[in-house]
Symmetry: D2
Subunit: 338 residues, 4 copies
């Protein structure tokens, strides 16, 4: 941490700050500049949260951290990329992994038809929501346990591993029984009890960035999972909230190279939620792969115009086939596979 003192801070004030730094277990190091005195607090400031309280002293102008506050998620702690294995599928390796399926599990026929179609098109993982976080209490809230059973059936029939969202601590075991990857939705990115619990569930976790979550906060949420002993975290960029309204969210592909620099965790991209419009999904899927993503998660529905949720952003199966062909070519141009 760097503690910047206000202009005109007295010697006693500087000493007081240094004393407090020592009391918190760090070593102070003072630099007297032309216009400001700054004090470095030496030590591992990933635990130095408490030093921030010094900002409440009248003589302190700002407290600025030097280190990133996460450890296990950091590329400094683990240099080699993490590969998450789910059955035969490896996320974070050479292959671009595509997860596809409907937003919500709506019925047996809808799910099985979609599973068959996306598998035929080359998808590696089946997605589908049984528990649905819906902005309105009057909207379809998912088939819940019944949906989980349908996912289990689709998994058996198709052979595809399944990713689905878990929204509450008390459902983690039920979801983990039927799913291969536990999805934490954007709205739960800072639901810390839930993060801790999936950190103990023994299944890989797909961690969607929240709509106002900074990359640093996102990696700290990953740290909650990692620090409970679960190393299999997959990050998922799904769009942040900005002023732009032609897209539902602003898919932030910059997050892909930033995460690759800061962390060893694999990252996938969700162009369906990120844009909110089926017409933009293919372009942004290709862009996500070109930016360096390890995979994609894409909404596919046999009849989007009748979907109970997210119809506008769902692809018809035939469009998904076309997307896969184009994404494959981009992957190959990057010496990756699909």
């Amino acid at each position: 941490m760097i503690i910047v003192l206000r202009a005109g801070a007295s010697d006693e004030e500087v000493e007081d700050v240094c004393r407090r730094i020592v009391a918190m277990g760090y070593a102070p190091h003072t630099i007297r500049g032309t216009l400001r005195t700054v004090v470095g607090a030496i030590g591992d400031d990933r635990g130095k949260e408490r030093l921030r309280a010094l900002e409440s002293l009248e003589c302190v102008e700002a407290v600025t951290p030097i280190l990133q506050p996460y450890k296990l998620a950091s590329r400094e702690v683990r240099h080699d990329p993490t590969e998450v294995r789910v059955g035969d599928v490896t996320i974070g390796g050479k292959t671009i992994v595509v997860m596809a399926g409907p937003c919500s599990v709506e019925s047996r026929s809808q799910l099985l038809e979609t599973a068959e179609r996306v598998k035929a098109a080359g998808a590696h993982v089946l997605r589908g929501g049984a528990f649905k976080p819906r902005t309105s209490p009057y909207a379809f809230q998912g088939l819940e346990e019944e949906g989980l059973k349908l996912l289990a059936e689709a998994r058996r029939e198709s052979g595809l591993p399944v990713v689905t969202e878990v929204m509450t601590v008390d459902k983690v075991d039920a979801v983990a029984e039927h799913a291969d990857i536990l999805q934490i939705g954007a709205r739960n990115i800072q639901n810390f009890p839930l993060l801790r619990r999936v950190g103990e569930a023994g299944k890989p976790v797909l961690l969607k960035r929240g709509m106002a979550t900074s990359i640093q906060e996102w990696l700290l949420s990953a740290e909650y999972v990692l620090s409970r002993g679960n190393p299999n975290v997959i990050l998922c960029e799904r769009g942040i909230r900005t002023f732009e309204t032609t897209t539902r969210f602003t898919l932030d592909l910059n997050a892909v190279p930033v995460v690759k620099r800061l962390s060893h965790l694999p990252i996938v991209v969700d162009p369906s939620h990120g844009t909110g419009h089926w017409e933009y999904v293919e372009a942004m899927a290709m862009a996500g792969v070109a930016a360096g993503a390890d995979g994609l998660i894409i909404e596919v529905h046999p009849r989007p115009e009748e979907a109970l949720s997210d119809g506008p952003q769902s692809l018809k199966p035939e469009r998904f086939v076309a997307l896969m062909a184009r994404v494959r070519r981009v992957a190959q141009a990057l010496d990756r596979e699909l």
Copy 2:
């Protein structure tokens, strides 16, 4: 809902859209404009979420809702302002209600001292966190059940009702046993199972706006609570995330008159989290009251520079006394009391 067709939509396409609108239970009404055909879907579109799926038809350019999607939270459904009663305190009436106390309950002495000081200064409700949602897993996470017991003691000693955060469904009963108002934090604003559960807990709910939550979404989250039979929802504006970094968040006081126009629910303002710096708290507290807020929630700590959380934004008790005096004068200028 207004369904806008693309330029050049054929008669068959218009008919197809109308047929689908009828199939979903609404009455279509077509307007052929100079450059576009639009179809109104007549009916109560607060349940018309499914009509949005029509946007996935190639002939549809956009589906635009006309009505606000919430009902119980709306001023159209209930015109008179809701008054939430907590013991002798009424939130949403003539009196500006001030809730004050430490960010976290840290110790018995810290809490009791703060309770005594804020009560003496005129606060009506004691705040303090026992369960703390912290961005980093390495930060202080609250005293949890022990904190609840200290809050109960402080409540007995001071006579002040208590507001404290509940983070999980399974702790709602425990928190409701000791607290007078259940706080839903900004990070849980779209934790829908939790919202449903506090809707059944029989205690007033303080619902903090999320950092990227639109006012419409916020009122829909209130609707989750209201629709479970709990009419006692207090909204709390606590800052949204923007590009500006001199403040921790951007306290959005515009939300006060907007909420007053759209809803009958009371609204309080949190200038401590909203700005993140103690120096700005008094000015924004006064501004919040002048904007029409029904109350304030303010962090006070006897020694902010030693606080385990949010030290930089906590007021010392003597500053809180000064704030109360100034806020009282603003309240009186608006024919309100403190």
Copy 3:
């Protein structure tokens, strides 16, 4: 500046960085922490922009400034508040100064009627746009020179000083001839040649914050004017762009106490543009004054429903009268006058 080196930076790399710091005229000061080495570059870093280029070295993780980059606008350089005098009106003193009038000058009768009404209600300055920056080329672009003449006439008739926008370098003299305060609109906040030019025009400048302008950038734009020898800069907060859509912009009242802390310049608030809806103007005007603003700028139109621009946010004269009465009471509660 603080230069943070990457983990594992070698001694040669640290020395190279120090050598470059010396070459740019600063004194390096190295702190070797547990996990990182940081180098402070000592000297006045308000001119140290070039040090930022060190971030392009592979061994450098980040370059972090310590000082605010503006000088003349800073409260450190000038502690006492600046008072801007315009005829009998002082902006930045005890009196809350209210500037009011139509968005655009539309006709002689519209302007003269509005001037008379706002003067009668107690406004101190007449506002009105002759040159209008309009998002669409098909919208009304202002009466231009003809509008300036009408403003001059309204000024003579009413005795109110006039503030109006200047959009181009070549019109600065013409506008300065008829106006008492030159307004720089939000869209020109980083039109640096224009800022330099109004810095030489000998008239006070009202500098509107841009919709994505940080407070630091805003003060740097003020610095452009100040550094040309014009000390009479009035800042104007008029709303920033966020994700929220119930208001046209998000009026950022936090900027008021932040500016008061960082700078000696007066600041006024524009609740008309900030909210975009007449129904929210009064509440936010009162809030602006309670936050500590030195004045208000408010759009008033005799027939808003026929306005050629910004009708939805314009007040009718009778509403403006009511607003003035309520704002006066808030001002008095703060020991200020109206």
Copy 4:
């Protein structure tokens, strides 16, 4: 336009609204829904700006436009993509056009060396700033006319056409004399007098999106240029301002497919300004091309650590060579060339 009336609007109010619509030259069409009456105003609402003023009537809840407000920039008016020709280079055709060079022209040797290196690597256009809009008045402001002359020399020597920024109306002719493409910077995206002037200058215009400019506003700014008779507008996405701070801006690649859907104008991507860090430029350049961009604009400097502006985001020439090789492969995967 759709005018939504408030609940309980009386028949007289509906009639009054209809009368006003007729008076403005449109045909009203009323739909009485279950909870609201809406009135469509039929006619070309790209000129219907004035209808928005009806929102100031107490009986009107909202006025919602149906049509996009631009015409000449719209794909409805011109379906085929615009190709902008600059010497032998065509922007908007099959070839991905790469513009490269230093942020600022700093010296003859710096510019000529860079021009030679980027040409050898396959760039099609040389970029370099002579007039520089700098946030701080104390930063290097460009070599101005001297810079233009150096650009002219570099153009002769290298044979590359030149793109450079013009900041003021009075310099348009001087810049147009030496440059092949006139760049309008992000800070001038709503400098309407400048847009009009470059619309008359007879040279292609590169129009950078502002940091808080919606896509609709961006296309309206293009409309200013197009409506002055200049059809050769190239859009440039360069990053918008969001809450995320690991990148300088948030490069919004979603804008690429959105613009392709709404407009016929070519679009290029600037990953240098968009990310602000050289390490992210290559990934985002590839992503931009994969998203469907027609070109790239990239900052290259022989010694970024000594650059007078934007050093942190500038590539060394050897990195630019590597980028070109990788981008070429992505282009080919999309059946485009480089």
